[in-house]
Symmetry: C2
Subunit: 280 residues, 2 copies
């Protein structure tokens, strides 16, 4: 397994592979790898000739009061995990290379970026789409893999790729959960034992919603009220948002008939957690 | 020579060429080709294995009161010219394919897009960078060619390509002029005989500036005043802007010491013309 730190070298390497007719599967990450990331890597491993994983904690997708500085970094363990999964290349650039002085270019996916998580994290998705476009241009993958856990991100990246005609197929893979239901996230490490227990309420509230819909309930506001009630039973939980939206355009829906996304963000202590399900 | 109208076909075609190790030279245009475009095509012809010219009048770079509808279109003549110059592929997509309903993704190069032409044409450069990124993703060229006549566009595209790590080299080629100095532009067709004569004042004022600088003048404001005086002698000329700026960051400079760009936009009758020189 190669670890490439230079943008230029990564770019040359990809070009060589491409010229040889090799396909590249790409898993962009911010490191602190968990089973969710590994599921993407395994999928890439079966789909494509070469697997590239990028590890880059992207400063421009963090707000000024967010956790950029304390975001978990664990290169050694990440390297071990990647190597074990048969990753061919870890691309590990530094911030100065990615955003040199005088950096000025940004991508925005209008509307989709302003709601849900985008509302409480202004600029977040602009940071995500910008770094993903940069990484696509450097790594030039055939297929790139993202997790359904970041539902809004997945929808925005698919939209960006389609709108900009990027020659990259986007694959969204299912959320990986702990046995009790907690969606895997690098940020779960911030939770203490009590918070970790309370954090189960995110997936529990989604299960509740699913049950209610299965039972024939279609009033989105009523379902949200029930989710809210369940979450507010937890001492340390503070709801950021609960939303039932169209799974394509992210517009709120009042009556559940078609494919919809139920998404929520909840602060548990000082940690903001997200989760979602798609109802078909 | 092939004419390809479908994005998918163009994309597949480029991929095939790339896999064969062929290099692609790309000249993106809005059609109404003149000697300026042809000079780019000739350069591409000598640099690369395959030459692709796109012809697409990009609606999103026109303001609501600008000349999108009446912008000259001359596909037949353009095709003849391209064929004569040994172009391999004309890529000629339609607007519905390029911007399908629900299109949402835009690129911005901050600061550089807001001054000079960007000031009187808000959103113009956002439209330009967005379409160029789309075209780069579809055509996947090794080198793309632009004219120095659109100086600000050239600087912005170079910045965008560098910032986003696009695997495309950007080459800027010199402005082509008529014998009397008028910079070639598809919009020159709008000028009547009298206006065409008066339009010479753009290049004349740039020559004047160059002469003054050669003579040791370094006060940018004083040079601009002299250019202004010359232009105002023309009955039909209305100055949009005259600027002396840093040739990299487009910031105004007051004293000419280093490499600078002298750029101007002038309305002659109902036609807005631009021109520029770089002083080394």
């Amino acid at each position: 397994m190669k670890i490439i730190r230079s943008i230029e070298k990564m770019s040359d390497f990809s070009k060589t592979l491409m010229r040889k007719g090799k396909s590249i599967g790409f898993v962009p990450t911010m490191g602190a790898l968990h089973e969710g990331h590994l599921s993407l890597i395994r999928k890439a491993r079966t789909d494509t000739d070469w697997v590239v994983v990028s590890i880059f904690v992207n400063p421009i997708q963090f707000g000024p009061r967010e956790d950029f500085k304390k975001y978990p970094r664990s290169l050694k363990q990440d390297t071990r995990l990647c190597s074990k999964e048969g990753v061919d290349v870890i691309f590990y650039p530094d911030t100065k290379q990615m955003y040199p002085a005088g950096y000025k270019t940004y991508l925005t996916v209008q509307e989709l970026s302003d709601c849900l998580c985008g509302k409480s994290r202004p600029g977040h998705f602009k940071g995500v789409t910008t770094v993903i476009m940069k990484l696509f241009n450097i790594v030039r993958p055939d297929i790139a893999y993202f997790g359904q856990k970041d539902a809004q991100q997945a929808i925005i990246i698919k939209k960006m790729a389609a709108d900009l005609n990027t020659p990259v197929r986007i694959r969204i893979m299912p959320t990986i959960r702990e046995r009790e239901g907690l969606a895997l996230s690098s940020r779960n490490i911030y939770l203490n034992t009590e918070e970790r227990k309370e954090a189960l309420v995110l997936s529990q509230s989604l299960k509740l919603a699913k049950r209610l819909i299965r039972a024939g309930r279609t009033d989105a506001a009523w379902i949200i009220r029930n989710m809210r009630r369940l979450i507010l039973e937890k001492k340390k939980a503070r709801i950021n948002y609960i939303a039932i939206v169209d799974a394509e355009n992210l517009k709120p829906i009042s009556r559940i008939t078609d494919r919809c996304l139920i998404a929520l963000a909840v602060w548990v202590g000082k940690t903001r957690l997200i989760d979602n399900i798609i109802i078909d």
